[in-house]
């Protein structure tokens, strides 16, 4: 069964993207090619989202013809200069571009559109994505900051900024941008986990022993704990918790001087040990249920479960060695 088309296909694995784009002819045939915009016609609002997602999948799998067909239908419904239609048209052009010259041309077009209407957010985003794709990261970052000045509540843009900084190794900036997302969506459990991951990576990159390391580890621990508090049986959260507590316990085994940093000091070893045990137990439970394909435990990503299993078996083997 192919995954639902209503959800965004960006993160799907290749096999599922292929399955979706193979559905394209059937969907294009079953839906009417022109929908009248009168009240009487039964217009499904999901249909347009489906078309957008279909375009994304088809472009990914190299089926430009179907993508163009979808775009044509969106054009007949929403008109040539709808902001999202413009962005999708640009997306198709990007995908079809053969060399840098053509990409530059697409970029020019974006800038032209923006010079006419500088509040066209979809096109702004496409321009940033294209800049980044072409390797002009600093341009992309400054454009992104401009966009955020203009619309500071754009979660997606903050997250993109965070990812951009992260790809450059600028951990504090990446963490700051992600925290900004959290201000806007305080209950997003995946953002909490992401922030935990960022803190953890920042801590491991800066190296053990100094005060910043302790502080960042403590932060990561808190973030993962909160993500679990917001979401029962959250595999990613428990994975992160396990990783962090393991690392902290390993560090405290060899004597390092504890630098107490006020608010951000780590909880005592006992608590961390208990958190570690909890994470181990929970991960084991999730792996067991998920690999048995139990009813009600089928939502997990197979790759994530495999990674958790690896982490646990690594843990077990190091225990035996000790």
């Amino acid at each position: 069964m192919a995954p639902s088309l209503i959800r965004s296909p960006v993160q799907l694995p290749p096999a599922e993207a292929l399955a979706i784009s193979q559905q394209a002819p059937a969907i294009l045939q079953s839906a009417p090619s022109a929908v009248s915009s009168s009240i009487l016609s039964k217009e499904k609002s999901e249909l347009w989202i489906e078309y957008e997602n279909l375009i994304l999948s088809c472009l990914r799998t190299g089926d430009e013809r179907a993508a163009h067909q979808c775009l044509d239908r969106l054009v007949t419904r929403f008109g040539e200069d709808n902001e999202r239609v413009l962005a999708l048209r640009g997306l198709i052009k990007e995908a079809e571009a053969q060399n840098n010259g053509e990409l530059e041309k697409v970029l020019k077009e974006y800038e032209e559109i923006l010079s006419k209407n500088d509040s066209n957010i979809p096109i702004m985003k496409r321009r940033i994505a294209l800049l980044r794709s072409m390797g002009r990261v600093s341009d992309a970052a400054s454009a992104l900051v401009q966009l955020l000045d203009f619309s500071p509540t754009d979660l997606e843009a903050w997250s993109e900024l965070s990812d951009l900084y992260f790809s450059q190794g600028l951990y504090p900036q990446a963490i700051y941008a992600m925290e900004e997302v959290l201000v806007l969506a305080p209950n997003a459990w995946n953002v909490h986990a992401r922030l935990g991951e960022l803190q953890y990576m920042a801590a491991t990159a800066s190296g053990a022993g100094n005060g910043a390391y302790q502080k960042q580890m403590a932060e990561a621990l808190k973030r993962f704990s909160r993500s679990i508090e917001l979401c029962d049986d959250y595999l990613r959260g428990y994975y992160g918790l396990k990783l962090v507590t393991k690392r902290i316990l390993k560090d405290s085994a060899k004597p390092t001087k504890q630098t107490d940093d006020g608010d951000f000091s780590l909880p005592d070893t006992r608590t961390i040990e208990r958190l570690n045990e909890l994470a181990t137990a929970k991960l084991a439970e999730i792996i067991r249920h998920s690999s048995a394909n139990d009813r009600g435990w089928r939502g997990y990503n197979a790759a994530e479960v495999a990674a958790a299993r690896e982490l646990l078996s690594e843990d077990a083997s190091s225990d035996i060695k000790r």
Binding site: S8, S133, D232
Partner: protein
């Protein structure tokens, strides 16, 4: 599930209609009898109570329809954030099906997924390259589902 609920409701509806018809006939007959009795004697106080079988049929029919309607209600969703989020993560689509086994229209997985997947910032050229790579390394062979 829904077929079950619909059959039960329909069956109860037939029972209820029958009981209604019986009660109506009974009261018509009764008023006729009262009228004729009144013309013969002058005492018109004959108790107008339904026969016990009609009463039982009505109540049983009500219960059956009630059962059918309750079975036909949509499944509930947890209201506590962590339970609800856990359900999304743990069960995926399975947890959000209606009685027909179809996934709810408004189910969209983790509603905050877009923050990390960022569909408007997608780097389509990179995705195409990765996909081509995947096909080349033999991924295409096993995708005949």
């Amino acid at each position: 599930m829904t077929i079950l609920s619909k059959t039960i409701t329909a069956f109860g509806g037939i029972l209820l209609a029958h009981a209604c018809y019986s009660a109506q006939e009974h009261s018509a007959l009764h008023s006729l009898r009262v009228a004729t009795a009144a013309s013969l004697t002058s005492s018109s106080t004959v108790a107008n109570s339904l026969p016990i079988d009609v009463v039982i049929e009505t109540i049983v029919a009500t219960f059956i329809i009630l059962l059918g309607l309750v079975l036909g209600t949509r499944p509930l969703r947890p209201i506590q954030w962590r339970v609800w989020a856990g359900k999304i993560e743990r069960e995926g689509e399975d947890g959000f099906k209606d009685n027909n086994g179809e996934v709810n229209k408004d189910y969209m997985g983790n509603p905050f997924n877009f923050i990390e997947s960022r569909p408007n910032f997608v780097d389509i050229r990179k995705q195409r390259k990765e996909f081509a790579e995947w096909v080349r390394t033999g991924g295409g062979g096993q995708s005949t589902r």
